[in-house]
């Protein structure tokens, strides 16, 4: 077994890197793959919260790098999915506690035991980003359909090319089909036309994402949700399957239909 190292990054903060990492990890592990997530956001860790594992942290990434514990001791096993592990970030240190070569060594130690190593990159283009990208085999860039997020994604994609980690693959997160239809949001085509990289997933805006993150239950645990389905599709594409992109049309209930008939053009 030799794992594929996937780094999830974005440049801009708040576009859904951590949510994407957690959900892809869940979706892959639910499909029987052996997965470990590494939180690269030292000092501002979140991945443990989204995965609902925060109260089980004893050792963290910096403890491993600095030799205070063995790698196995820092790996937290998820209780819902047998083959999902998390290596949390330290909360009391900063990005400089770890170097890019530390990350390469760490992932090399993990490769033999896993199918997938997912690294959640911090926002920005500084040390934390370089730490996270250094060991990557594939880089996933998450962006939202808004101008500032796309601009930052473009910058990040350029940096990834410069690091010879490209070509990056794109996840377009929080697409609101209603706004796209009204012409109030960049369309996936607009974004792709600028970024010119392979699109590996479109995740619709879905209230379930925030609700489930707050409970520490990633939305992908419930594949019936629209966002959960989208993450499962991305996981299958990562495994090399050819999965068609889902229809983003929101199913309307009778009241929404009526409201649209009365006020055509929007809500």
């Amino acid at each position: 077994m030799s794992a594929t190292v996937i780094t999830v990054t974005s440049g801009k903060g708040g576009v859904g890197k951590t949510t994407t990492t957690a959900n892809l990890a869940v979706a892959l592990a639910a499909g029987g793959q052996k997965v470990v997530c590494i939180d690269g956001d030292i000092g501002l860790r979140n991945l443990d919260v989204i995965l609902g594992l925060e109260n089980r942290i004893v050792y963290d990434l910096v403890d491993v790098v600095e030799g205070r514990c063995r790698l196995k001791q820092a790996m937290i096993r998820d209780k819902r999915l047998q083959e999902l592990y998390l290596i949390p970030a330290a909360q009391t240190r900063d990005k400089n506690a770890v170097s890019p070569s530390d990350m390469v060594r760490l992932t090399d130690d993990l490769r033999e035991e896993f199918d997938w190593i997912l690294i959640d990159s911090p926002a920005g283009i500084e040390r934390g980003f370089r730490n996270s990208v250094a060991p990557a085999d594939t880089v996933l860039v998450v962006t939202n359909p808004e101008v500032s997020a796309v601009r930052d994604a473009d910058r990040i994609i350029g940096l990834i090319e410069s690091e010879e980690k490209g070509p990056a693959k794109l996840i377009l997160n929080r697409v609101n089909q209603e706004m796209v239809k009204r012409g109030d949001m960049l369309t996936p085509a607009d974004v792709l036309e600028l970024l010119a990289v392979e699109l590996i997933g479109i995740v619709p805006e879905d209230d379930h994402v925030i609700m489930s993150s707050n409970r520490g239950q990633p939305v992908a645990l419930d594949p019936k949700t629209r966002a959960g389905t989208a993450f499962h599709h991305i996981a299958r594409r990562l495994k090399g399957e050819d999965v068609p992109f889902m229809n983003l049309e929101v199913k309307e209930d009778i009241f929404q239909k009526l409201s649209r008939l009365i006020r055509p053009g929007g809500n």
Partner: protein, 238 residues
């Protein structure tokens, strides 16, 4: 200065301060050290002496670093003309004298020997000008700054910058900032397959971009009548 003895004229006239010899364009009179009236008299007397030799001659006069005024030069020219001698050039190391001579319509330099006429093959190889070529899309945060021209095979995305002292040619879409003629060259141009720049500048001017409308066809931006004008590139009109 090189001297070219005219064929069949190797005689020389020497007086104390006036030295005369034949050159390709006629006669060259070199006037040595000494006061001007004396030198002028010596020259005139040697001309009168050999009147038949000097008749119709064209004379160039070398006066060293003497400062001569228009009145002096003019008077000499007229006196020489009386003898049938035309003064056509005054060579001097004094800028004042040169200027005076030029004011009188006299040459201040002997014409250089004509280069030998060699028949060169018609040469249509142009040397061109220096520039850089970038074969990639410039993403946000990338910057090219060059003293030469810049050509990009790829797009210039928002947040990317190209700055050139010369012209900029983009085989792709411009959406970032482009500055051509950054050193002040108003002849610089910006060409692109599609133009939707964040900012477009040529020399000291900033383009007034109409609204946010992208131009999705090949265009060339240049300075016309003091403003940056973006015109479609039409193949047939060129």
């Amino acid at each position: 200065m090189e001297e070219y003895p005219a064929p069949g004229l190797d005689m020389m006239f020497e007086t104390q301060i006036v030295h005369i010899k034949g050159i390709k364009d006629g006669l060259l009179v070199t006037i040595g050290e000494g006061d001007w009236p004396g030198a002028q008299d010596a020259l005139l007397s040697s001309i009168v002496e050999k009147a038949s030799f000097f008749q119709g001659a064209r004379v160039a006069m070398e006066v060293g670093n003497r400062v001569l005024h228009a009145a002096e030069l003019g008077a000499l020219r007229d006196k020489l003309a009386d003898q049938g001698v035309s003064l056509w050039a005054v060579i001097s190391s004094s800028p004042g004298t040169e200027q005076t001579a030029q004011g009188l319509g006299l040459a201040t330099r002997l014409s250089l020997p004509r280069p030998e006429r060699t028949v060169r093959p018609l040469d249509t190889t142009l040397e061109g000008e220096n520039g850089v070529f970038i074969r990639r899309t410039l993403r946000s945060g990338f910057k090219i700054a060059s003293h030469g021209h810049v050509s990009v095979l790829g797009d210039i995305n928002p947040g990317a910058e190209v700055i050139s002292d010369g012209s900029i040619m983009v085989w792709g879409r411009v959406r970032g900032s482009v500055i051509a003629g950054a050193g002040g060259d108003e002849n610089a141009v910006v060409c692109a397959l599609a133009m939707d720049p964040t900012q477009l500048r040529i020399a000291n001017l900033v383009a007034n971009l109409p609204g946010k409308k992208a131009i999705l066809q090949p265009v060339c931006a240049s300075i016309r009548n003091g403003i940056i004008t973006v015109e479609p590139w039409k193949l047939k009109e060129r």
